[in-house]
């Protein structure tokens, strides 16, 4: 069964460093998302991406964050200057988006996550 994959599974970095989290969405999916989950808390939406541009973003997704689809398969989240509070599990998700009018009914499939630890 097709699945979303993410690399690395765990990333440790120093405060102020840049990190890039990578995701390979399900191959025929067109809508991509990043969520994060701070340990023990709920899953929070960061950003969605469609047709090579950001569709929506939350208040969390400030100027230190950026997303990119550098090629036909990868979807990346870059955090430019990491802070201690960026430590969290970052999940990538994708959905089919065959019919834009019904994207709100699409199932989002989540990847296994990247655990980011900022020291």
């Amino acid at each position: 069964e097709p699945e979303v994959t993410q690399t690395p599974s765990h990333q440790v970095t120093q405060m102020g460093q840049e990190v890039i989290l990578r995701c390979v969405p399900i191959s025929n999916h067109l809508y991509f998302y990043w969520y994060r989950q701070i340990l023990g808390q709920k899953v929070e939406f960061l950003v969605s991406f469609y047709n090579n541009e950001i569709s929506e973003k939350s208040e969390i997704f400030d100027d230190q964050f950026s997303v990119e689809r550098p090629d036909g398969s990868n979807f990346t989240l870059k955090i430019r200057s990491t802070k201690l509070e960026d430590s969290a599990m970052y999940f990538c998700a994708s959905s089919e988006a065959l019919h834009l009018a019904r994207v709100h009914t699409d199932t989002q499939y989540f990847g296994p996550g990247t655990r980011l630890t900022v020291l």
Partner: protein, 111 residues
């Protein structure tokens, strides 16, 4: 705005039933239920749409009361594998295609 889930935690014996609730103060387009086991990704269980359409697992049932903006997930004859944290994610008129998740309900099924 995040939905409110109840209860926060449930402990069951194998074979018992449970109901997990999710409510919102906003008119909802859809409710999505996920189960997450410790250290793993959320796994899709069920989607309930405005108008009554449902998509999801055969062994899991759920309801969506559009007037009350509430959804309930019914876990019957629970198995040990049902243990995990259950999240509801909702879409309303302001959230676009993003999901707003509740804080989760922790379910533990014991032998």
């Amino acid at each position: 705005q995040q939905p409110v889930q109840s209860p926060q935690a449930v402990i069951l014996r194998e074979g018992e039933d449970a109901v997990i609730n999710c409510s919102s103060s906003k008119a909802l387009y859809s409710v999505h239920w996920y189960r997450q086991k410790h250290g793993e990704a959320p796994v899709f269980l069920m989607i309930l749409l405005k108008g009554g359409e449902q998509k999801g697992h055969e062994k899991i049932s759920a309801s969506f009361n559009e007037k009350k903006q509430q959804s309930s997930l019914y876990l019957t004859a629970s198995q040990l594998s049902y243990s995990g944290t259950y999240f509801c994610g909702t879409r309303d008129g302001n959230s676009g295609y993003a999901l707003n998740f509740g804080k989760g309900t922790s379910l533990l099924v014991t032998p």
